[in-house]
């Protein structure tokens, strides 16, 4: 998958925006279509295969960076909340509550309203997705590591809190956060699809799995390949990632080796 993402410009047989209005909605090769359009063409006569390769690239980019951001923000806030008790903690918990009861649509609108729409911004926006869950998780993990365990032990050695959080609690929470991230990943692809449809997402001429699913759903019976191709990619990616997440967790954890 990653390979496809990197090599997209090389292997894509057609320009993703190259359209052929007279060969619209051609079925895939093997279902009455031609080899030149392996997965058929879409509603503008563009090559689904080429678009798919580029979509994988965009979506992986968005989902990876967004997941990273989401985990980063969540972890940072979770740790800060765990470290500072009292007012700071209550404030951060409030923030978490607010985010939890605010539909993501509104958050997306806010970002767009104040900063306009661009890919970088969009990645940042998706990065906000699910941070509150990660924050809750990270806070819980930090509290659990707290006084009794290794964190307390390191504290009594005289270590600076930064060292405790970065060198000890973070690596130990990594596995759990990672597994959480593997769930966030497909979610982000789907949310992106929803937002793209509201004009809040990835913009043409760029394309993404979400955009393709979003467009494809209109053609679910008319040209099912438009929906199936990206959907299968999403499912396979999600499965691969959950397997990867599990094995990565096992790799990272010396007790499981």
């Amino acid at each position: 998958m990653l390979l496809i993402a990197i090599a997209a410009p090389l292997i894509a047989p057609h320009d993703i925006t190259a359209m052929d209005l007279r060969h619209r909605l051609d079925p895939p090769f093997g279902f009455g279509g031609t080899v030149s359009h392996l997965f058929g063409t879409d509603d503008l006569g563009r090559d689904v295969a080429s678009r798919l390769y580029f979509s994988i690239r965009t979506s992986l980019l968005i989902a990876f960076s967004a997941t990273l951001i989401s985990v980063f923000i969540g972890t940072a806030i979770g740790f800060v909340a765990a470290y500072f008790r009292g007012v700071v903690e209550h404030f951060l918990l409030l923030l978490i509550d607010v985010q939890a009861s605010l539909p993501f649509l509104i958050v997306a609108l806010a970002m767009l309203a104040f900063f306009g729409n661009s890919l970088v911004l969009f990645v940042g926006l998706m990065g906000l997705y699910g941070w509150e869950r990660n924050a809750r998780l990270a806070r819980g993990l930090a509290l659990a590591a707290g006084a009794q365990g290794y964190a307390g032990a390191t504290r009594q050695l005289g270590a600076h809190p930064l060292r405790i959080y970065l060198r000890h609690i973070l690596p130990n929470s990594a596995a759990t956060l990672l597994v959480a991230a593997t769930v966030t990943f497909p979610e982000i692809v789907l949310v992106e699809s929803g937002l793209s449809f509201l004009g809040l997402g990835v913009q043409p001429p760029m394309t993404s799995l979400g955009v393709m699913v979003g467009t494809g759903r209109e053609y679910i019976t008319r040209a099912s390949w438009m929906l199936l191709a990206p959907s299968i990619v999403i499912v396979v990616t999600a499965m691969a990632i959950s397997v990867l997440g599990d094995s990565l967790r096992d790799k990272l954890d010396p007790t499981l080796r």
């Binding site: 925006t17 619209r24 729409n117 209109e218 040209a223």
Partner: protein
């Protein structure tokens, strides 16, 4: 006849303000529903060359250059059972409802009826309408939109305007039944309708934004008619037994406007012309719209008749010409913004993307910018999507209606042309055909050659999927008429 059927219609969007002259009613989705609830003074028969018929008026007589007298049809009953009188007509066209600066109908008035200066009751069945100037399209206006007659009494009895606008009382073949905001509206047959018994006992409009869901619902038998079928989906309905596709003939069009005053690159006239020549309208109409749309090349519609200049060509797809114009221009490949919301019109985004590709082929760098709201579109200027239709058979209803000084392109400061405005005014206020012809010709020259600000694309068909046995005829406009067949009583 035995039991009359009731009708289930799945629509992609629905608005719950049902007052036809409300500012927010200036929308396809509103007209679709409202058209069966009200009658106007005159009725345009869209399926018969836009011929005008008598409706609530049974005669129309010009008294002098600025005065017309109308005699009202007898025995017209409102939905609440009361009789329609001249008072209702006067009120319906009154400043309070329609003509006032702050009236709810101000927008509709300005769009369709702006020439009316006064309305006087002569007797219970007779009304006089006075216009500010001579009006070559006066009768047309009465049959376009805005002369829907409502019950003055019911208006006054309503608690508030909002309450009224939610369930107005008209004279049309159906009255308002249950309204579930944003979800469904049920209309119920008005059995005392002057034009005969309505063919359906009730009509339910149900909001169903997903096109695939609408089609599935139709196939599952849950709906009798579904609206807003795109050409790509026709084949899904066409082959199915018991179902058919209706509509497609359209007097509604899509075009692009340019905002040179907001976007400095577009100041160059040659570039604007090149933009127009680079568009392969047939490819859009034939390819993207599966031949269901017709390419539009100019502003003369056949129904306009005499005022048209048969020699006029309009714009066409001419890549060579585009290249040539581009060479003459100062354009050096700068990015031209094309802000769009992408989902407002059917097939809008595919159209957008196809256009961008066509321009790219011509060497023009247009950047499609997806916007979430109209503010953003407005602020960005550049190239904009637009649509409009001919409500009556006169260019006033097209070019002037779309580009006039009160319309958005000029109001938002995207383009302005004093000469165009002057000519437009003349077109609207003189009955002298020669003068009108000249004005119309010059106006077209301005928007095509001298100071282009608009370029036509193609018609925007309204396509419906329906059960085969349903008896109704779609309009070339978004309005759906589901009432009884009315006798032809043409206005002379």
């Amino acid at each position: 006849a035995g039991q009359r059927p009731s009708l289930n219609i799945a629509v992609q969007d629905l608005r719950t303000i049902l007052e036809p002259v409300d500012a927010s009613s200036v929308a396809n989705v509103s007209w679709r529903v409202q058209y069966s609830i009200y009658d106007q003074l005159l009725r345009t028969n869209y399926n018969d060359n836009f011929r005008l018929n008598f409706a609530l008026a049974k005669s129309l007589k010009q008294i002098d250059a600025k005065t017309h007298e109308i005699v009202l049809r007898d025995n017209v009953k409102f939905h609440d059972g009361s009789m329609m009188t001249a008072d209702d007509v006067v009120f319906s066209l009154s400043p309070e409802r329609l003509r006032g600066e702050k009236a709810p109908g101000a927008a509709v008035f300005a769009n369709f009826l702006s020439s009316i200066a006064d309305v006087q009751k002569v007797d219970d069945r007779t009304v006089r309408l006075v216009t500010t100037t001579e009006d070559p399209v006066f009768a047309n206006r009465l049959g376009a939109w805005g002369t829907q007659i409502i019950s003055a009494q019911a208006w006054k009895a309503a608690e508030s305007y909002d309450a009224w606008a939610a369930r107005p009382v008209g004279t049309g073949p159906y009255r308002i039944g249950e309204v579930r905001t944003g979800d469904e509206i049920t209309l119920i047959a008005h059995d005392e309708y002057w034009g005969g018994q309505p063919p359906f006992t009730s009509i339910r409009f149900k909001r169903l934004p997903e096109i695939a869901a609408r089609i599935a619902g139709l196939k599952a038998g849950d709906y009798d008619i579904v609206t807003d079928i795109t050409p790509d989906h026709i084949s899904e309905i066409d082959g199915v037994s018991g179902l058919s596709v209706a509509g497609g003939e359209a007097m509604w069009f899509r075009f692009l406007t340019f905002a040179p005053l907001k976007t400095p690159i577009l100041r160059d006239v040659n570039l604007r012309r090149a933009l127009a020549f680079a568009i392969d309208r047939d490819a859009l109409a034939e390819g993207l719209w599966n031949g269901r749309a017709k390419a539009l090349t100019g502003w003369q519609l056949p129904i306009f008749g005499e005022i048209n200049d048969p020699d006029r060509k309009g714009v066409s797809y001419d890549p060579a010409m585009a290249k040539e114009l581009l060479a003459k221009s100062s354009y050096k490949g700068e990015e031209i913004p094309y802000p769009t919301v992408g989902t407002y019109y059917p097939m809008q985004l595919p159209d957008n993307q196809a256009l961008v590709e066509m321009w790219k082929a011509a060497g023009i760098n247009v950047k499609l910018i997806m916007c979430e709201n109209w503010d953003q579109v407005d602020n960005l200027g550049g190239i904009n999507d637009s649509s409009g239709g001919a409500f009556y058979a006169d260019p006033v209803s097209m070019l002037w209606q779309i580009l006039g000084p009160t319309n958005s392109l000029q109001v938002t400061g995207g383009w302005a042309n004093a000469e165009f405005n002057k000519l437009g005014h003349e077109l609207e206020t003189t009955t002298d055909l020669a003068k009108r012809k000249a004005a119309f010709k010059r106006m077209q020259d301005i928007v095509e050659i001298d100071d282009p600000c608009i370029t036509p694309l193609h018609s925007m068909p309204f396509i419906y999927g329906q059960k085969k046995d349903i008896d109704w005829q779609p309009n070339p406009l978004p309005q759906m008429y589901l009432g009884p067949k009315l006798p032809s009583e043409p206005v002379a």
